[in-house]
Every structure is written in C-alpha cells, then in structure tokens.
C-alpha cells in the first residue's frame, strides 16, 4: 500500500534521506523511531508530495505521488503533531468541510456525528467551536476526518506527543481499530512504549537511514529500548 523505493532527499548538500526502502501493507502500523532530524518527517512529507524527492520514488497504492499528487491524496489521511482546524467553525463543521473537500458530500449530520463519536470526541463537543478544543480533541477530529474519508493510508507525524497517557492510549486504540479495518499506517513517533504496544512493525532512523526494521511482536519493551539507545549512541 505504501512503498518507498530508494527514496532520497538532498537539501543542498545535506542528505536528509539516504535511499529509503520501505513497504507497508494494509493492516500494518509502522512506527518510525529516531531522534529529531533523523528523516522521519522528511519521509512523511515525501509521501504527501509536500516536497519532491531528489531521486527514488514514494508510491501509494502503486502510484508515484510525485506524478499523481492529487489522486494519491484521495487514499490518504494526514495527522500532524497538532491537527489544524478552523477555529471559528465547530468540530462538526470542520469535519463536514473536510469530508466535502474529500468528495464525500453524501454524509448526513448523523453520519458525521457518528464518526466523531467513534473517534472518541465527547458528546458535548461537536457543536462547539474548535477554538476551545484541547489538543486531544483536535487529534480525535483528525481521526474522524480520516474515518470519514475512508482513507486506506494514514500518515501520522508525532500525533501523540504532548497528549496525556489516557488520551494517548485512546488514540493508539483507534489506530489499532483502523489497522484492523485494513488501513496501512505510517507513524513517526518518539513514544517507544506506544510503538511496541500498538505498532506491528518498528523502524529506527538515524541520519537519514533506516538502521533497524523489526516486527514488534518479536521483541520485548526493554529490548526495543535497548536497541534504540544502542543506535543512538553509535
């Protein structure tokens, strides 16, 4: 579903990504670990076609995103560190707007409220303006947008940083549910615990290279942390 083929990004002499090869199948949650500047966000921005690769390809559903910028976005949803919404619109209105932009004008308010409920937004919140939402609530609207869009690919860039453990846990549960529905998920994160807990695979990035690629079921919490720190010390 998601595939990087020799993906390289060169920022005027600084190699942010040195030939990434990665394949994520439907139902997988791939957690990209690594220090700031390791190339995690660069990878996600390349899949979003927000930046162009220096060489190699980022493929979504077999299509090169650089050539099919608009089409490949039909299949994906993007959740950044803070989901940015329109402050003067309510959560419901934000969801309706983004759903309509994604081509889903058929949803009724009941449908949309259902998505928000599924994403875990409290019942009193959808009619309130987003200006007063907490970060956790914004992230939930972000998930609801992804659900409403029927995205097959989810790109997440540190979506849980700054969330309290309960909110973080709820968020991870939602990702697991979506993966269960066959969504391919790529998440950049610093949260080793969550990566082990909800991820199906984990990759450690360092200086633009994927230095480790493992299946989380094969490794314990402590071992993952030890492996991560070992790579960081090298």
């Amino acid at each position: 579903m998601l595939e990087a083929v020799n993906l390289k990004k060169d920022y005027g002499g600084h190699l942010a990504l040195k030939g990434l090869n990665l394949k994520i199948e439907p139902g997988e949650i791939y957690c990209l670990l690594g220090a700031n500047g390791a190339g995690k966000s660069t990878t996600i921005n390349l899949f979003l076609d927000f930046i162009k690769p220096s060489s190699g390809m980022a493929l979504i559903d077999g299509m090169n995103v650089a050539d099919h910028s608009i089409e490949t976005k039909k299949a994906l949803a993007y959740i950044p560190e803070i989901v940015m919404l329109y402050r003067n619109l309510s959560g419901l209105e934000n969801l309706r707007y983004f759903s309509q932009l994604a081509g889903h004008s058929e949803y009724t308010d009941a449908d949309l409220l259902g998505f928000l409920k599924r994403a875990g937004l409290p019942d009193h919140a959808p009619m309130k303006r987003v200006g007063g939402y907490s970060k956790g609530m914004r992230q939930k609207v972000g998930i609801a947008i992804a659900i409403a869009k029927q995205a097959k690919v989810l790109l997440l860039d540190e979506p849980t940083s700054g969330l309290d453990p309960k909110a973080s846990n709820e968020f991870s549960d939602l990702l697991v549910q979506l993966a269960g529905d066959g969504v391919a998920i790529l998440m950049a994160t610093h949260d080793l615990f969550r990566a082990k807990e909800s991820g199906t695979r984990a990759g450690i990035m360092k200086h633009g290279e994927l230095v480790a690629d493992l299946v989380t079921a094969d490794i314990g919490h402590a071992d993952l942390e030890a492996l991560y720190l070992k790579h960081m010390h090298d």
Binding site: N45, L48, F50, I51, S69, I70, E71, T72, K73, K74, L76, A77, Y78, P80, I82, V83, M84, L85, Y86, R87, N88, L89, E93, Y97, F98, Q100, L101, A102, S105, K149, L155
Partner: protein, 482 residues
C-alpha cells in the same frame, strides 16, 4: 469543491464581527450618500425647470424692442443632469451649471457650486460613487488579506493540501466566498438605496433619461469589474506575503497609491504635460482677435468705415439707405461671424488641450484602476468634462442661431434706414422672439460615451484580465511551509 470552499468562507466571514460592522457602516454611508444626492438632484432639477421657464417667459415677454437690444438682453442655457448624477456628482461642482447667451460674446458656463464652498469641500463630498470607489475596496482588502497567509500561519493550509485540494480551486473558492459576502451586503443595499433615491428624485423628463438603462447597466458592470480586480489583487498579495500583517500593509499601501495618490497626481501630471494658458491670456488673445473685426457699434472706427465702403461698392450704391439689406444688420452679422471664428480659434485651442489632458489621465489609469473607474463612472453619470463641453457647445450653437435670427430680422426690417434709426428706431415684437426656439440639450447617448472612454474601458479590462492571471499564477505557486 469551489462551492464548498466558498460556502465555508462565507460562514467564517459571517461569524467575524468585524465584517458585520464594517459592512453595516458602508451600507449606511451608501444610504446617506444616495439620499442626500437624490434630494440635491431633485432640488437642482426643480430649480432648473422653474428658472428656465421663467427665463423663457421673460424672453418672450420682453416687449417691443430692437432685435439687437434683445440679443444683448440674452437668455440663459441651463445644464441638465441625468439621474445617475445623484450617484456620481463627478465634476459637476466645478464645471458650472448655466451659461449666459448674449450678443458678441461666447461666455463660459458659470455658477460653480465649488466657488461658493469653503475649503472644507476639498475633502470631498460623500457620494455613492466615492463609497463604491474607495470604501468597498477597503472592505474587500479587510476580507481578503489573511485568506491565504492566515491558512499558512494557522497550519490549515497543510491540512488542505493533504486532502488533495488543488491550489487554484482553493483560491477561486475563496474569491467566490468573498464575492458572495460583498454581494450579500451590497446588492440589497444598492437596490434599496437606489429605489429610495429614485422615489426621492421623482419623475424625469425624457431628455435626461436617454439610454438610462444602458448607462446603468454599464456602470454596474464597470463597478463589478473594479471590485473583482481588488479581490484578485488582494488574494494574490495574501498568497505572496510572508505574513497576514505584511499582506495587510502591502494592500493598504496599494489602496492609498491607486485610490488616493495616482488620481490626484494624475491631474497635475496631465496639466504639466499639456499646460493650458491662463484665463487672462485667453481673454487677451480673444480681445486682440475681436479688435480686427468690424466694430459694428463704432461708426468712426477705420474697420467700420472700410466695411461700409466695401458694402456700398458691392451693391453699387452711394448711401447705406439704398442697400438691399439694412447696413446695421449686415455690420452686426459680419461682426458676429468674425467673432465666432475668434472664439472657435481661442477656446478651441483650450478645449483641445483639455482633451489631451483627459487622454493623459485615461492612459494613467494603467497605474490605477481607480482612475479608470472614476472616469468611466463620471462619463456614464453625465458629470465629466465631456458632458460639460457638450453642453457648452450646444449652448454656443444655440447662441449663434439666436444671433443670426435676430440679425437677419434687422437686415430685412431695417432696410432703407440710416444706421442710427435702424439701431434705435426699428422695433420687433413677440412674433420674432418666438422664432427663437427654447434652449434644449440632449445629453450624449451610451455609444458616444463608450467611444470617448474606450481607453478607460480597455485599461479596466486589462487590469481585470491581468489580475486574474496574476492570481492564478500565484495560486499555482503557493508554498507549503515545512
């Protein structure tokens, strides 16, 4: 997708209290401007109709007198106004509202309201045209300046791009949303204010209504184009600015330069390029030219004696009493015809210079769409220099016809008389006065106005097309911040 974006923008604009208050103030000003304009228009028109009837009555009932005395008595030509003048008074306060039509002299239109006004008047009267030319663009700027830069600052632009929204569709959706917001405020405002103004202004005579619907339509289209230019420029600058604050600063600068600076400097530039002689110089030149004439009232002037000898020779007689026409009539007529040439030469030169200045101004609208819309709006409202010139020309043509009719009567009626008795003894009556028709002036029609303002129209269209291209070009290049 464009409709979805436009609808969402409208919702956001509606919820923004700033828009509500600003637009309410603008609509209130529009009501006041059109209301005051309509009252003034109606008062001026009633006064004009009354005065011209009175003037006609006193002309017809001036009693038995020599036709040349009647020519000196003269009549007044009153400048009419089309109903759109209540919306755009243009140069009306500066061009004079009536012209005294008498023997020997081509007078300039007099009674300029600006001459009676205090220095405060220079700040400009509030008019419907001013509200549309200056305040509505300001409203557009307030709505548009943060539309793209704000999405970038708030991070929602990344969200939109991740949804696969094409950049040009986003921008056109926003343009449509702004257009909708402005239309919701202005269309009912203008319609209601317009109907109220029409009721206040009352019935109009058919001369003033020439091509009224067509003029109204073109005025409306011109303003729509003008507003569209501002929407495109404001959005393009919002795209190209680093921050919303920078966009607002740039746009207010654009508004000041194009709306206030260029129109005012334009008049000075055109005067510098085509300087007009002073009124004193023109007067002196006319005096000199007229001095070469017959001097019909001075029997001892060499030119008068030479003309008399020429006439005696021409008709082969020795006494003026034997001429086939009254000598007095011949002299007056010859003197007038000479005067016509002198006036045409001198005023013609000045008018040519004014026309050249007007062309310079029209070309300057390349720098500012406000100059183009000002010129076009005044022209269609019948308050520009061309309209004033048309009136003056019609009034002068009327004067010449009047003088010729009266002189022709002396030539026949004073036949066989000495010059003295022809001037003082011959009397005409009401039947002659009624041979001079009442003054009537038809304002220029739509096609004449469009032809005269072709440059302004083309420049306005060029601004529109250019700003649309600039916006599209800029939209395709909106950067995603990392």
């Amino acid at each position: 997708m464009i409709w979805t974006i436009a609808k969402k923008e409208l919702t956001e604009i509606r919820r923004d209290g700033r828009f509500l208050w600003t637009s309410l103030i603008i609509v209130a000003l529009l009501f006041i401007a059109l209301g005051v304009g309509a009252q003034r228009y109606a008062a001026d028109r009633d006064l004009r109709i009354e005065a011209s009837q009175e003037d006609r009555d006193s002309w017809l009932n001036q009693g038995d007198k020599g036709p040349h005395a009647a020519a000196h008595y003269g009549v007044y030509g009153f400048k009419p106004a089309t109903p759109l003048a209540l919306f755009d008074p243009g140069l009306n306060d500066y061009t004079g509202t009536l012209q005294y039509l008498e023997a020997h002299k081509e007078n300039q239109a007099a009674f300029k309201p600006a001459a009676d006004a205090t220095a405060l008047a220079r700040f400009g009267d509030l008019s419907g045209a001013m509200v549309l030319q200056l305040l509505v663009p300001l409203l557009i700027i307030l709505l548009c300046f943060g539309m793209i830069s704000g999405e970038r600052e708030d991070g929602t632009f990344r969200q939109l791009m991740s949804m696969g929204v094409p950049r040009t569709k986003l921008v056109w959706g926003k343009a449509l949303g702004v257009t909708g917001a402005i239309a919701i405020v202005l269309v009912p405002g203008i319609l209601i204010a317009g109907v109220l103004a029409a009721i206040l202004a009352g019935n109009n005579d058919p001369h003033e209504m020439i091509d009224f619907q067509g003029k109204l339509l073109v005025v409306a289209l011109a303003y729509v184009a003008y507003f569209a230019i501002f929407v495109c420029v404001a959005l393009a600058i919002s795209i190209r600015s680093r921050s919303s604050g920078a966009a607002l600063t740039t746009l207010v600068g654009f508004w000041i330069v194009t709306g206030l600076l260029v129109p005012r400097i334009g008049a000075d530039i055109s005067k510098a390029v085509y300087p007009t002689p002073s009124a004193f110089e023109v007067e002196a030149s006319i005096q000199k030219g007229r001095d070469a004439g017959i001097h019909a009232h001075e029997p001892n002037h060499p030119n008068h004696i030479a003309f008399k000898n020429k006439m005696l020779k021409k008709y082969n007689v020795t006494r003026i009493e034997d001429l086939p026409y009254s000598f007095q009539g011949l002299a007056l007529e010859a003197d007038e015809e000479h005067g016509f040439k002198v006036f045409d030469q001198n005023y013609g030169r000045v008018r040519e210079l004014y026309a050249e200045q007007d062309k310079v101004q029209q070309v300057l609208s390349v720098l500012s769409p406000a100059v183009a819309i000002e010129g076009l709006s005044e022209a269609l409202s019948g308050t520009d220099v061309d309209f004033a010139n048309d009136f003056s020309n019609a009034a002068e043509a009327y004067r010449r016809n009047m003088v010729r009719i009266l002189n022709a009567d002396i030539m026949q009626g004073g036949k066989g008389m000495t010059q003295y008795s022809a001037e003082w003894g011959y009397r005409a009556n009401k039947s002659l006065w009624s041979k001079v028709p009442p003054f009537d002036f038809d304002p220029p029609g739509l096609s004449t106005i469009l032809g005269r303002n072709l440059v302004s129209i083309l420049v306005l269209l060029a601004w529109l097309v250019g700003s649309i291209f600039w916006l599209t070009w800029s939209a395709r290049r909106i950067k995603i911040d990392m």
